[in-house]
Amino acid sequence: MGTAKVRLFARLADLAGTREAEVELGEGLTAAGVFDVLVGRHPSLSGFDAFVRFAVNSEYVPASHPVRDGDEVALIPPVSGGSRAL
């Protein structure tokens, strides 16, 4: 199944106390699933799933995006300027 590297930024990095993590990939793990794994390790992140956006390999993806071996998953808080729409 492999592993994915996770990167955290801004408020999420402060809450987790880390900017990087590694997650073992279970069957069909999605970007949202990776976030759930991080919440398990860092309960301070719980409740932020509606707030975070995901990027895989530096591209915005939906929460349902499947994560593959070697992917870099980024947890992206809202950027400073405003709207979520791209």
């Binding site: 801004a10 990095a13 809450l15």
Partner: protein, 142 residues
């Protein structure tokens, strides 16, 4: 095109030189500057965090969009990270065009799109506390 995310002081001469062309009669240069107040608070300094590899990609994409929409000759963008004091420059956007109106309009559009999409965040350190300044998605109370 030039897209840079850097902890060093920004360099307006470099971005302007990057966009200058013989056929371009106008260069618009936007400076984003750290101001001393926000929402009735006295700001002491800002700290910028970034996802640099992705920021460069997103900047490239929005620059291509804007280049297509306006008649732009060349674009250069720099954003600074780390701690910035009041009066320091956090963002430079330079646009060149044949005539001035396109440079003004494209520069304005680029700054707006930048603030919506590029993965860079600022933490405001003010008198009495600090806070990450985030967009319009509501966050749970941390």
């Amino acid at each position: 095109m030039l897209f840079e995310v850097t902890a060093d002081q920004l360099d307006p001469d470099r971005v302007v030189e990057h966009v200058q062309r013989d056929e371009a009669g106008a260069v618009a240069l936007f400076y984003g500057v750290v101001r001393d107040h926000n929402r009735d608070r006295k700001v002491l300094h800002l700290e910028y965090d970034a996802y640099p590899e992705m920021a460069a990609k997103v900047m490239q994409r929005i620059a291509e969009e804007v280049k297509e929409r306006f008649n732009v000759v060349e674009i250069a963008i720099q954003h600074r990270t780390g701690r910035l004091e009041i009066g320091e420059t956090s963002l430079l956007v330079a646009v060149s065009s044949v005539h001035r109106s396109e440079a003004f309009e494209a520069c304005h559009a680029l700054v707006d799109r930048f603030k919506e999409a590029v993965p860079i965040w600022k933490k405001e350190v003010f008198e009495g506390g600090e806070e990450w300044i985030e967009g319009d998605l509501s966050a749970p109370d941390a």
